[in-house]
């Protein structure tokens, strides 16, 4: 690792806290800092990092320079009339939401945590509970400012080929400096939520297929441990933004108030195995039972509906020092058998997941490496434990066979060959990237592991 003036080596990992590596981390205060870093890049290259909420090695660059973008975090312009908002890449979606709500504006796509940066949201083309109707984050971006490998600043819009290489491009086309995002108008920060239970996987799929279209927001949590007749039993929560007239008087008095910031942080050191088969079993059982069989029109705030996990700061630490893997895939509609088999494999594997999500995706966008494609997406969080590689290998085979793919922002262990078969536009991405970054300035541990920028040797 070549010395980089003004910053020391730091160990970085993703949210899953697996496979850390060491890099020089430099805080970005000004776009000129990015230009200087890119111009001074050495063999180990440069990478932008947001809030480090990708699970695996996407925001790591071993031996190289990592630009901490969270210090470039200004909201530059809010146009309440058009809903167009211009922000620095380091602004978190949490901050953005708090800034926009007083204008009656709403962040168009919200992933499962608000602690992600705008740059990270673009680079991973993140999706939310409204993907089936609204698409992913990149579909709401009107333009990007980006420092490319030659150290120049570009402004690209969706007509520009570089735009769709950058949306979902995992930081490998350049450093996103600013984005202009088209936001939606809302009357309130509250949600009207319908909750229902599904008795098994068939029931779950049937309910989601029947009337997802009626709700802008839809997601389900499924029990990852129950097998047999209860395989895939689930709690479905779906909703929409409440109108002013639908709020009870107490809330109608402060309709755009989203509540205080995060309330609790867990201590950093947890014994390994706190989430084990026994506690995981209990959690899955209780979570299912705690949900109402059917409840309609409940008013919930943003955090309760979208981001319950944000209440607890560093919950990833409960998985102990070996960390966790998140496995998220999508398989096309019509591949329900693969989905059934996957849920069955997980439930009978002996590995325990507590955060288990099943959702229907709508149409994808033009992002070359963008993850969402029409179909069923499933995500599970699994603590690292011997034998997990075998479960994942079996799931990979199912997903590949079904024509599906894994989400790069969550991956930490797939192989280059597998991912290449899942992303048919990878070659196109490599070509686009070779044009804009022929010397290979932008690189990450993820890119090295999955050969995202060059054909693999194996």
């Amino acid at each position: 690792m070549t010395e980089h003036p003004g910053c020391g080596p730091r160990r970085l990992s993703g949210w899953g806290r697996t496979a850390p590596s060491t890099a020089y981390v430099r805080e970005v205060r000004d776009p000129a800092d990015i230009v200087a870093a890119v111009r001074g890049a050495d063999r180990r290259g440069v990478l932008a990092r947001g809030l480090g909420r990708s699970y695996g090695d996407a925001a790591q660059n071993a031996g190289g320079l990592v630009l901490d973008m969270t210090t470039l975090a200004q909201v530059h312009h809010v146009d309440a009339a058009t809903g167009l908002v211009e922000v620095d890449a380091g602004v978190s979606l949490d901050t953005l939401m708090r800034v926009l709500l007083p204008f009656g504006l709403w962040v168009p796509v919200l992933p499962g945590t608000r602690q992600v940066s705008v740059g990270g949201a673009v680079a991973a083309d993140v999706h939310g509970k409204n993907h089936h109707v609204a698409g992913s984050f990149g579909s709401h971006v009107r333009s990007l400012e980006l420092v490319t490998a030659d150290g120049t600043l570009h402004r690209v819009d969706p007509e520009h080929p570089l735009f769709w290489a950058t949306v979902g491009g995992m930081g490998l086309t350049g450093v996103i400096v600013r984005a202009t995002i088209a936001c939606r108008r809302v009357e309130s920060a509250f949600l009207l939520v319908d909750t229902e239970r599904a008795g098994d996987l068939e029931d779950l799929m049937a309910r989601l297929s029947a009337d997802d279209a009626a709700y802008p927001y839809s997601v389900s949590w499924f029990d990852s441990i129950a097998t047999g007749r209860r395989l895939g039993r689930a709690v479905i929560t779906r909703g929409r933004n409440a109108l002013l007239e639908e709020l009870p008087p107490a809330l109608a008095a402060r309709p755009l108030d989203m509540g205080a910031r995060r309330r609790a942080t867990l201590p950093a050191v947890f014994p390994p195995g706190l989430v084990n088969r026994a506690s995981g079993r209990i959690f899955n059982e209780l979570w299912f039972r705690a949900a109402p069989r059917l409840r309609r029109g409940e008013v919930q705030d943003v955090t309760r509906f979208f981001h319950p996990l944000d209440v607890v700061g560093s919950w990833n630490h409960v998985y102990g020092p070996r960390g966790l893997c998140q496995y998220q895939f999508v398989v096309p509609f019509g591949a329900e058998d693969a989905l059934r088999e996957a849920v069955g494999l997980i439930a009978s594997s002996g590995h325990v997941s507590c955060l288990n999500v099943l959702k229907r995706f709508g149409p994808g966008n033009a992002g070359l490496l963008s993850f969402p494609t029409p179909g069923w997406t499933l995500a599970v969080d699994l603590p690292v434990r011997p034998g997990l590689d075998r479960l994942f290998a079996a799931l990979d085979a199912l997903v590949l066979e079904a024509g599906g793919r894994l989400y790069l922002a969550k991956d930490s262990r797939a192989s280059a060959g597998t991912v290449a078969r899942m992303y048919p536009r990878l070659e196109e991405f490599r070509a686009a990237r070779a044009r804009v970054d022929p010397a290979g300035v932008f690189v990450s541990d993820l890119a090295r592991r999955l050969s995202l920028t060059d054909a693999p040797i194996l």
């Binding site: 690792m1 070549t2 080596p9 160990r11 899953g16 697996t18 496979a19 850390p20 590596s21 060491t22 890099a23 180990r44 695996g56 090695d57 660059n61 071993a62 031996g63 190289g64 020092p321 070996r322 960390g323 893997c325 690292v384 011997p386 997990l388 590689d389 994942f392 930490s412 262990r413 192989s415 280059a416 060959g417 541990d445 090295r448 592991r449 693999p456 040797i457 194996l458």
Partner: protein, 251 residues
């Protein structure tokens, strides 16, 4: 890169014809596609090792390497890293020698010292530099319980492994915080070509057992492992025996 479950993309074997090193390569090749770089003297044994790993689907490169030519080690490491980061490097070369000759004949004793200690210091320095450059990397150092408390029957070998063990333990400390990790492996008696013809000691292991222990230890982030694991307690006991008692043990 090494992945979240401990699987490497590139495995670098120094002493690429060692039975234990090749068992480690086979163990990793079972999990995922693997690039293996074999650094070893160019012999028919090395050609055979290359073929056997290719047959398992590995992409194999061979590099000429002599443990005693310490001034070449850095270049060998650099050459190995040309085709991609060195995720796991195994320092496996070593000689057992004839124990009686080793303590009575200068060239024999010095060969053990050079191959088992001086060479590994040069290799470790070169690997350390590569790891600092990469910002990540695991070194698997094949030490031995023989270094924990050298005994009369093979104390020259034991003394070289004691130095080897101390060096790699220290290297692990030095590389912490720079992205590196060193796993010191302390097998007892292993049935390999090194011990061919010798009477197996109690708790003898196979190269495949050592390999599995290495794979598990790398995945769990351990910094030292005994093979078999019970040897840890055994050695801890032996270390504290009074010399007159230790001397009389039939080992």
């Amino acid at each position: 890169m090494i992945d979240s479950l401990g699987a490497p993309q590139t495995l670098f074997l120094l002493g690429g014809t060692s039975d234990i090193a090749l068992a480690i390569a086979r163990a990793y090749a079972r999990h995922a596609p693997l690039r293996v770089v074999l650094a070893a003297r160019h012999t028919s044994r090395r050609d055979e090792a290359v073929r056997s790993l290719q047959a398992l689907g590995c992409a194999v490169e061979a590099l000429d390497f002599d443990a005693r030519a310490t001034q070449t080690h850095a270049d060998v490491v650099t050459a190995a890293a040309n085709g991609g980061d060195l995720d796991i490097s195994v320092v496996a070369y070593g000689v057992l020698g004839d124990p009686e000759q080793a303590w009575t004949d200068v060239p024999s004793g010095v060969e053990l010292a050079e191959v088992n200690y001086v060479g590994p210091v040069a290799t470790g320095i070169a690997l350390g530099a590569q790891i600092r450059e990469q910002g990540h990397g695991v070194v698997v150092a094949l030490s031995s319980v023989a270094g924990e408390r050298p005994r009369r029957s093979n104390f020259v070998y034991g003394s070289t492994k004691a130095g080897f063990d101390a060096f790699y333990t220290g290297l692990g400390e030095a590389l912490r915080g720079l992205g590196g990790r060193v796993l010191v492996v302390r097998p007892g008696f292993v049935r390999s070509k090194m011990t061919d013809g010798l009477r197996p000691a109690p708790l003898a292991a196979t190269p495949d057992q050592v390999a599995q222990a290495v794979v598990d230890a790398v995945a769990s982030g351990a910094e030292q492992v005994w093979v078999p694991r019970t040897l840890r307690a055994v050695m801890s006991g032996l270390r504290h025996l009074p010399r007159p008692v230790f001397r009389r043990l039939p080992i």
